[in-house]
Symmetry: C3
Subunit: 212 residues, 3 copies
Amino acid sequence: MVLTPLILDLIGVFFFAVSGSLLAARRGFDIVGSLLLGSLTGLGGGVLRDLILGVTPNAFAHPVYFLPPLLAVIAVYLFAPSVDSYKGTLLVFDAGGLALFCIVGTLKALDLGMPPVAAILLGMTTALGGGLMRDVVANQVPTLFDPKDIYAIPALLGAGLTALFWQLGFVNGWFQLGVATVVFTLRVLAMRFSWHVPKAVGPWHGNWAPRL
Amino acid sequence: MVLTPLILDLIGVFFFAVSGSLLAARRGFDIVGSLLLGSLTGLGGGVLRDLILGVTPNAFAHPVYFLPPLLAVIAVYLFAPSVDSYKGTLLVFDAGGLALFCIVGTLKALDLGMPPVAAILLGMTTALGGGLMRDVVANQVPTLFDPKDIYAIPALLGAGLTALFWQLGFVNGWFQLGVATVVFTLRVLAMRFSWHVPKAVGPWHGNWAPRL
Amino acid sequence: MVLTPLILDLIGVFFFAVSGSLLAARRGFDIVGSLLLGSLTGLGGGVLRDLILGVTPNAFAHPVYFLPPLLAVIAVYLFAPSVDSYKGTLLVFDAGGLALFCIVGTLKALDLGMPPVAAILLGMTTALGGGLMRDVVANQVPTLFDPKDIYAIPALLGAGLTALFWQLGFVNGWFQLGVATVVFTLRVLAMRFSWHVPKAVGPWHGNWAPRL
C-alpha cells in the first residue's frame, strides 16, 4: 500500500470520527447525531487549519472526507464496546487521530510555504482542534486539559519531528508512519502510567483543588 | 413582495435571532447579552459558510444583517411568552431559521461555483451552525443532538432539493418558499409526534442509557 | 517607549492570556493546559478577526504572538493570587485585554479598508472573541453574558471612539492609550458598582428567574 498523505489523512479522520461517534453513543444521541459529532471531530481540526492557511477546507473541496465519518458511525453502531469500557476505546482512537494529524497538518502547512514554526503550530491546531470541538459541543471539559496525563506534548513532538525532517528532505510515507507510531505510543503510555506535568500554579500557592 | 435571496436570508436571521434572544432571556441575560446571543445564532452559520467559501462574511460586508437581531431583541423584550412555554416558541423560530438557511446556504455555495455535494454540505453548515453555536455558548447540549426527534434530516432534505432543482434551472423565490415550507413542516411535525431515528449504538449492546 | 500597534496588541494578548491561565489554574489544569487556554484566550479573538478579514492570522504569520501567553503561564505559575481572590484578578486582566483589543481590532479593520461600521463590529469581535472562547472551552457560562454588570458596552464605546477619531485622522499611540484607559476604567467601575442594563425580557412578563 502506498502511504500517500491523503490515505493517512483519511485514516486520521476515521480514528477521530470513531471517538466522536463513541461519545455520541455515550450521550444517548441517535445515528444522525453520531454522524454529525463524528464529522465535527474528524474534520474540525483540518477545516480550522485550512481556514487559517486561506485554502478551501479539504472536507468541502473533496467530499470523500465524509466517508470515514460514515464508516465510523457504522462501526460504532455494529461493534461498540460495552458502556463501561467505551472511554478507553474512545481515547485510543483519539490517540490514533492525534498521531496522524500532527504530521499531516504540519506537512500541509510546509507544502503551502509556511515557515517551520508556524507549520508546527498549524500541525498542533489540526491535531488538537477536532477533539477540542468534540468535547466542547458535547458540553464536557476537553480531554486536552485533563491534567492526569499528557496530550499536547506528544502532538508537539510529532509536529516538531516532521518539520525538522522535512527541512532535511527526509519525509516519506514510512517516515510518517514511524513518527505516528512514536506519538501514539507516547500518548498511550502516558495514559497507562499517568505521566503528567506540573499544575498551572506553583505548589507554594496553597490549596488550588480543581473546581469542575 | 419580491422574495429575493437577501430578504429570505434576513428573515432566516430574524428567526434564529429570536431563538437566541429567547434562550438569553431564559438564562437571565440582559438586553445586550440578548443582542449578542441573538446575533451569534442568526449570523454564526452564515459567517462560517462564508469563511469556508473564502468570501467576506455577509454580516460584516453588509451590516444590515445586524438589523434582524436588533428587531429580535425588541420583539423578545416586548412580547416574550411565559417562561413555561418559551421552549416551544424557541424551537418553532429555530425551525423557521433552519428551513430558510438550508436553502439560502446551498444556493450561495452553488452560485459561487461549488459542486452540488459541497453545496449541500455548506447548506447544512449554514442551517445547523448558528443553533449549534447558540447552545454551545449558552452551555447546554445542542438541540441538534436531541434524539427525541429529527433536526438535521429536514435540513438535508431542503439542501438536497435545492441543489437538485438548481441544476434543473428551476429555482426562484416561490420555489424557495415551497421548499422552506416543506422543511419547516417536517421539522415541526417531527417535534409534535416525536419522529426519531435509531440510537448511535445497536440495541444488542446492552444498556447505553444517556449520561447527561 | 513608542506605542506601536504591535506592542499594544502584544500587551492585550498578555492580559487576556493571564486571564486564561488563571482560569486554567482554577480548573486544576497543568502548565500545558495553562499555555493552551492562555493562548486561546489571548489569540482567539484576533484569529477570528483575521479570518473574517481574509488575511493570515497574526498568531500564525508572526509566532512572536505566542510569547505573551508563555510569559502569562510563567507569571501565573509564580505569582498566582490565592484561590479565593483569583476571580477579581482574572476579571481585571480580562478588562485590560478588552480595552486594548477593541481599539487594535477596529484599527486593523480600518487599515485594511473595511467601512467604519464593519470595523467597529470587527473590533468588538476581537475584544469579545477570546474571552468567549476561554469560557466556552472551560465549560462555563461566558463572563460576557453576566447580567450583573456591563461588558460589551465599554468595548463598543472603545471601538466607536477609535473609528470616529480615525476618520478625523487623529489616532496615534497616546490616543489609543487614552481610549484604552477610558474603556478599562468603565469596565472596572461597572464591576465595582454593579452597573447593569435591563434584562432580556420586560419586567411585566412574570418570573423569568435565571436557570443556570
